[in-house]
């Protein structure tokens, strides 16, 4: 199989065994994969543990877009980014951990920016509901007092 592969292509294998054939330039947007390729410790097939096929496909889509659109206007890319990261809680979380684990900087930046925008202007209570799902807990404790400076070792 590896002999039939074009020279600058790599195979990424997700945690659930699905394989993706991607150009090397796209794959090496992940610093972790780049290091493996540079160290030549990888065969053509690179296992990507902890990332399932669904998430890996999204990451590859993002990297492909960023690789192709280097020459494109930055604003187009921004629009793509903001649409790309606009996902449900679960996909967002899985993408963040995948991007962090495989060290894909552009994706991680876009995702963290998205989470920050979701947090801005909200109370502790609302953030907890949104991200932690502590609904019952928090209805009771959404009180006025917000003893934020409780860490008294601050000097």
């Amino acid at each position: 199989m590896s002999s039939s592969l074009e020279k600058n292509m790599l195979i990424l294998r997700s945690s659930d065994g699905e394989e993706f054939i991607v150009p090397e330039v796209v794959a090496v947007m992940s610093k972790a994969i780049k290091n493996m390729v540079e160290d030549e410790c990888a065969s053509n097939t690179i296992p990507v543990p902890n990332v399932d096929a669904n998430i890996l496909a999204m990451v590859i889509e993002f990297c492909k877009k960023h690789d192709e659109s280097e020459a494109e206007a930055a604003s187009d890319l921004k629009t793509f980014d903001s649409e790309f990261v606009n996902r449900g809680q679960e996909a967002l979380y899985d993408l963040i951990t995948a991007a962090n684990f495989r060290d894909v900087k552009e994706l991680l930046d876009a995702l963290c920016q998205n989470v920050a925008e979701m947090i801005k202007g909200k109370s502790v209570h609302h953030i907890r509901i949104q991200f932690l799902g502590y609904q019952l807990f928090e209805i009771l404790t959404s009180n006025f007092i917000w003893n934020i400076w409780c860490d008294r070792d601050f000097d």
């Binding site: 932690l132 019952l136 009771l140 009180n143 007092i145 003893n147 400076w149």
Partner: protein, 448 residues
Amino acid sequence: MEDGNEENKDDVDELEDEVDGNDDVAHDHREGHAGMVASATDALFSSFVFGTTSWLLVQMFGCFTIWKCLLGGVLVSKKLMMVDWSQLPYDIIRLIAIRLNAVEDFLSFSFVCHSWRSFYLTKSWTPGPQIPWLMLSDNENSDIRSFFSLYKNKVYELELPEARGRRCWGSPHGWIVIIGSDLEIRLLNPFSRACINLPPQSTFDGQFDFHSAWYQFIDKAIIIKKSNESHTIEEEFLVMVIYGPYQDLAFSRPGYTSWVNVEVSSYFRFLDVVLFNDQIFALCYVGDLVVIEIDAPGPPTVLYIAPPPHQLAWEKLYLVESSGDLLMVYRYEYVTLSGYPSLTQFEVYKFDLSMREWTKLEDLGNMALFVGDNYSMSVSSSNIFNCECNKIYFITDTVEQWWSYNESFIGRDVGMYCMVDGTVEPFFFGADYPSYYSCPIWVMPSLS
């Protein structure tokens, strides 16, 4: 079955984790990590103390929660979330935190759960420009001090026993000057609760008029911070106070043993002081601009710069540094036919250093000014954090005036003056009961 057990175990782990957090952090229990029953009692407690929620409503919720708890309702609600955001690695928490601009957002984020607080605890978050918080009046019977955030339009209550029973003056550096009936003077950061002693009132050169009360001795205190020099925190601060019956000027620094008087003829009664172009500018009665030189060898000197733009009667004068300009702000109070409330108007003049004269400004551009019993501040970004540009945010800051009200402040005498049409729009921060020695002040939030 096994799955269920695992979920269960995770939950227990997390609860334990959060209980651990509670051990480290006093008062954290109010945020309700500790568990269902504890949070129900907390809510009851806080509704007793602060009356923000209807007692009955909370009790109903309490019963409901205990019932749900018995049925394993916690686990049901937890299972709705398939991913656990509280398990985010530190690197990601940091990346999210540095993208939050407002202190309020960063603190909300940091207090969501134990692990999200990890970046806050490193104390390495560096905020961009902020807008001031309004520190409300003191309540002698409580260690709690309220702060109003314009951005969140919300009152935060912070435990601050250091400021209890003390008069305060705000600053743009996160620090305030406090004086109490013990006549001790200190610098206090209300957000970190760090405290630095200054020489006590007894070390003033000027004679203390025993007929006046402790809270009248200092008229205004101004904290000047030179941050570009790599000094220790003690050397960074210069505190200037306008004090005594003749509104004299004195200065001191942390570590000094006494206050140093700025000797002038009795003609100069000081009104306000500001740092501009690394020089200390002051306004004197009736609006004359002077420069004060304190670092040169020999006693401090006062250099006359310019007369005021006009001689009309004003209520209060402020000196503000605003994006490289030196501004003088006139506040006028006009009594209306109905007597009260009076009509507050402002005029702003800009100083031309080369011509040494004031020119009237009709427009502040994208600036907003914050004036009151504090170092007058300007915020340069347009419309950040619900702060509207081309407005003057003001507080009636004459203690005598506060006495005469004898009732609560519900946004009256605290408002936004619009430079375009001269209207005053009050903003509402709930009932605030000023005491005879304390009125609301502007202070910039700072976590360091």
